[in-house]
Symmetry: C2
Subunit: 266 residues, 2 copies
């Protein structure tokens, strides 16, 4: 955050500042307790298969909202928004290759594009911290460590591939609480998919994440716990090399008007 900028407190405030060009940083820590979303934009001809991929893999791919072709507003979760301007930084891929990293999508937009807003772990991280679990990377420039596992997702059309997980060290006496706290949020990845030995899910070296920064174990009482990660749908979509795909740039999320608690099932 630039020092002269007050931290925006709501989703609509964040989006307005981004649209005006006066906020162009990662969104971690802004609009506290508002749901932030991963963005995946694809042509309509693959939209059914991608939505079905998400339905079949709800833990890595929880759908918060879909903006139909011809529309640009997330009418249900962010009324008044415009997906072409309200994300701080985008990535544009053609046939799987990164071709641009623009501040707006005005020169890339097409009327056949469908936008998928997918839940992200920011929501349940608040719940973990509220339960006394320390997340050292939180609110810093560092990212959570992420690993490609040997757990196959359920295929749909051309979309298939391994699940990506995020990794957190959880004190032994907080593991049960971590399961409970995140189970309440099935729309933001929900309960962990694995607790303990990383090799059981195909992770050979916990100190070498595939994405994000390594998180050193603090002491022997900490247990590795793994949650399904929103990088999965992006990596799966990318692997299918769609003619055009647009995503947010890592850490630069779409901020909705929903509160984290709106997504809790209990």
């Amino acid at each position: 955050m630039s020092t002269e900028l007050t931290i925006p407190q709501t989703g609509s405030e964040v989006r307005r500042l981004i649209r005006e060009g006066s906020f162009n940083q990662p969104t971690s820590g802004v609009a506290p307790h508002h749901v932030q979303a991963n963005v995946a934009i694809l042509p309509k001809d693959v939209a059914f298969e991608f939505l079905l991929f998400c339905q079949r893999n709800p833990k890595p791919c929880p759908v918060v909202e879909v903006i139909e072709a011809g529309e640009v507003e997330a009418a249900l979760t962010a009324p008044g928004s415009d997906i072409r301007t309200d994300v701080p930084l985008y990535r544009v891929y053609k046939n799987g290759e990164l071709v641009d990293e623009p501040r707006t999508l005005e020169s890339h937009w097409r009327d056949d594009l469908v936008t998928f807003l997918l839940g992200c772990s920011f929501s349940f991280e608040h719940a973990l911290m509220a339960n006394g679990i320390d997340l050292p990377y939180y609110g810093t420039e560092r990212n959570v460590p992420m690993f490609i596992t040997d757990i196959e997702t359920a295929k749909s059309g051309d979309f298939s591939g391994p699940m990506v997980v995020s990794h957190r060290w959880i004190p032994q006496d907080k593991v049960v609480r971590a399961v409970q706290a995140t189970s309440r949020f099935p729309d933001t990845h929900g309960a962990p998919i694995h607790i303990g030995d990383p090799s059981k899910i195909g992770i050979s070296d916990i100190t070498k994440p595939d994405f994000g920064a390594v998180w050193e174990q603090g002491n022997d009482d900490e247990v590795p716990v793994f949650w399904a990660c929103g990088v999965t749908p992006q990596s799966v979509a990318m692997a299918s090399k769609p003619e055009l795909m647009i995503t947010h740039s890592p850490g630069h999320m779409f901020v909705t008007d929903l509160k984290d608690e709106d997504l809790a099932v209990l």
Copy 2:
């Protein structure tokens, strides 16, 4: 159930008997604790809009599995199944008009049909009964009372319309428990959508359900509680008058291999 028939205990057993022609009755009470599903079959050209309708309205329209065009097997929840033969009784609608009620779909099947299996309240009813809540219609030929409300669903394409709810009388001292027990099952309608005064959701006469049989209040300590109902997606799809739509006949569900507890989030 015919008296000479042992009640089948698993989904695959039920489906085998149906396919052989030796089971042709409602499925209430068979394969106890296995997930049963509402069936909606539509042409591929409206499949994205219908799947999106379900995503936007997860309480009335929880998607258990989608069978893609060209496929007939629910590979994830009922391996070895064939949707054309494994439901005891179907209904076939053309342009919104009932034209046939066949035992198999062999004469109606087309390669462009997409099958949606949607969660039904049987799963959470077990949870209610396990918590000491009596459901007088359960295991009888009677159906739960259902009402059309004034709650609008979130539109997708041509799919829109009011939410249908099921109604149950819950003893005052069990209302909290009923909320807790059903919240665990977001994929089978989840928590109630309303507790108390029926007129608040557009129901003018609790003794005149739009579907199903009336359930008389037992005593003044019973509170009316309403859950989103799987009739909603069928009635919404029907109202759009698709060129072809196939459903299960009421009470004659598709029985999967999933157990109710497989769908619990906590």
